[in-house]
Symmetry: C2
Subunit: 162 residues, 2 copies
Amino acid sequence: MLTAISAEQLKALEQTLHREIPLTLAMGITVVGFDEHGLTLAAPLASNLNDKRTAFGGSLAALATLAGWGLVHLVLRDHGPATVVIRECNVSYLRPVTRDIVATCSPPTPTELEKFLRTFERRGMARIELDVTIKANGEDAVRYHGVYVALDKARHPEAESI
Amino acid sequence: MLTAISAEQLKALEQTLHREIPLTLAMGITVVGFDEHGLTLAAPLASNLNDKRTAFGGSLAALATLAGWGLVHLVLRDHGPATVVIRECNVSYLRPVTRDIVATCSPPTPTELEKFLRTFERRGMARIELDVTIKANGEDAVRYHGVYVALDKARHPEAESI
């Protein structure tokens, strides 16, 4: 079911990011595409430089966070209005990123996806763990592991959201 | 030695952040102060909102990353030109941040600090682990643990920097 994401849905995701999270505009984030490798977001190096003239670690973490958030958002697009929050993440910075930043969130396995959706339908709340990779010159530059929680706000109006 | 940080040095740190890392301007980051609790940076909620109208997780991670980076930068201010890079971090998002974001990096213990500086002097390279906390309504909202590496570039010109 994850393969059936249209260009319009990707455009809508980008518009949601720009409208709801203003820092994504300052970072210049775009939604690049979705294929068998997962959801890919990008951001230009120029807007995300650090003192070494490579990509700022905070920008790398933020882009990875959004790649995972966006993937959960797309997964739940046909499951009613859901709130998606990040609970925890681990980021390993392996080498500098010296060009525009491209982050790809790998899709969950069919088993993980089915369990996530089944739990969300039954409890109105479910968690999923996702991996995001940012490459530089063909090698892994950043490895990100994030834990996300999706909430059906109609069924959990009391839930806090991050 | 960490207590002897002047207002001018804190201002210089803020200017360095704004000059070298342009996203810190978009985020509105300021250096608030340094005391026995550590180095504190802040950023207004309005520039760092998410779709829940609370603080964006990517902004929280970025501010925490910079609080740790800034502390290492201050620690090394009398030890020659050093490059400070982030190697790894873990971020736990415990509750939403609904007001301006304030991140405090706890100072290392005297033993940790001494070991870090001794290693840096001897090898021109040293690592240090730091904890940063962001509170909301008096309770921990974000707990961040980061691993930083400082490099004396004159002695390690080949080193990659993130």
